[in-house]
């Protein structure tokens, strides 16, 4: 990478065009959904961890064998597993840390479950209010 950087600076290598299909790939719905699930899982586990840490600091006994553990408190565990409500997804999408080069209008086709065959998401980077589905 350093070699390429220095070659670009010296002019031995010209800048690549990021808009060329040569330097692009398609984001498949499954991968996108995987990212959403991973982020949510991480959030939930972090919440549980901080709950346990607070308990340990305050001297509260942490019981892992409890069927309804105390450390689950205040942890929202609604993973969007095959959610059929399109609003769940549209709320999630703007929160995603996707790095997108194009600031132009982006339309997204998601065919996740048969009950949610097509979702047209208008302006992923803009406000979700302009959604037309």
């Amino acid at each position: 990478m350093l070699r390429k950087l220095y070659s670009t600076v010296s002019g031995a290598c010209c800048a690549d065009n990021p808009d060329s299909p040569q330097h692009q790939e398609v984001l498949l719905p499954g991968s996108l959904y995987g990212m959403i699930i991973k982020e949510r899982m991480e959030e939930i586990l972090n919440n549980i961890r901080s709950n346990i840490a607070t308990d340990v600091r305050n001297g509260v006994a942490v019981d892992f064998n409890d069927s309804q553990p105390q450390f689950y408190r205040a942890v929202s565990s609604n993973l969007p597993f095959f959610s059929t409500q399109s609003d769940t997804l549209t709320k999630l999408l703007p929160k995603l840390t996707l790095t997108l080069e194009q600031s132009c209008q982006i339309f997204l086709l998601l065919a996740i479950s048969s009950r949610l065959p097509v979702l047209i998401y208008n302006r992923l980077l803009g406000s979700p209010s302009s959604l037309k589905s």
């Binding site: 350093l2 290598c13 990021p18 692009q24 984001l27 499954g30 790095t99 339309f107 037309k132």
Partner: protein, 197 residues
């Protein structure tokens, strides 16, 4: 459909389809695209020079994909003093680290190892050798010589952000950072080092 059939359905004969009229607006449905995975592209963006002092418009970028298909984009910025800064995003926040710090922290590379690695026997190229020399010299102000020192420095600086167990040593936190954020498609630090050169 054939052209004749298209005309019968009140479409143009050379119609290829794929777009729709929704509420009177023309809409096109297409897949979302991303930069190609594990592939370095060089970028020339005047906006890069606004990032800070001595930043230039030159950068190279790579989108690395982990086995679980999640990705991290690493960007290497060229500075007007000849060295480079590596940029990555962690929890929606951007961080930049001098590339030398990462090269040293990854495998504890010596200066000659880095010099030979970048030069790749191309000793006639004085432009390149000048830059590498500047790169190596610019790191001297940090007064860090071993990989362990660099890892500890990284871990110390990122401890607050990483949110890792508090009993982990600075070096362990630094190593975790390198494993999770820098060229995530590669497993071993040696491979990451080679890719960065």
């Amino acid at each position: 459909m054939s052209s004749a059939e298209l005309v019968r359905h009140h479409e143009e004969p050379e119609e290829f389809g794929g777009y729709f009229i929704i509420n009177g607006n023309e809409r096109l449905i297409r897949y979302l695209i991303l930069p190609r995975r594990n592939h370095v592209i060089s970028l020339l963006r005047p906006s890069f020079s606004n990032r800070g002092l001595s930043y230039t418009q030159y950068a190279v970028q790579i989108r690395c994909v982990r086995p679980d298909q999640t990705s991290v984009t690493n960007t290497l910025h060229y500075l007007s003093n000849g060295s480079a800064m590596l940029r990555f995003t962690w929890r929606k926040q951007e961080y930049v680290i001098p590339i030398m710090l990462i090269l040293k922290a990854l495998i504890g590379a010596s200066d000659i190892e880095i010099f030979e690695g970048i030069m790749m026997q191309d000793y006639e190229n004085t432009f390149l050798s000048d830059r590498v020399e500047l790169l190596l010299r610019s790191f001297k102000i940090y007064t860090m010589y071993t990989g362990e020192q660099c890892l500890e420095y990284l871990g110390d600086k990122f401890r607050v952000i990483l949110n890792l167990p508090e009993d982990w040593s600075n070096a362990a936190q630094g190593a975790w950072l390198l494993r999770k954020m820098i060229l995530v498609h590669l497993e071993s630090p040696r491979d990451k080092f080679r890719m960065l050169l």
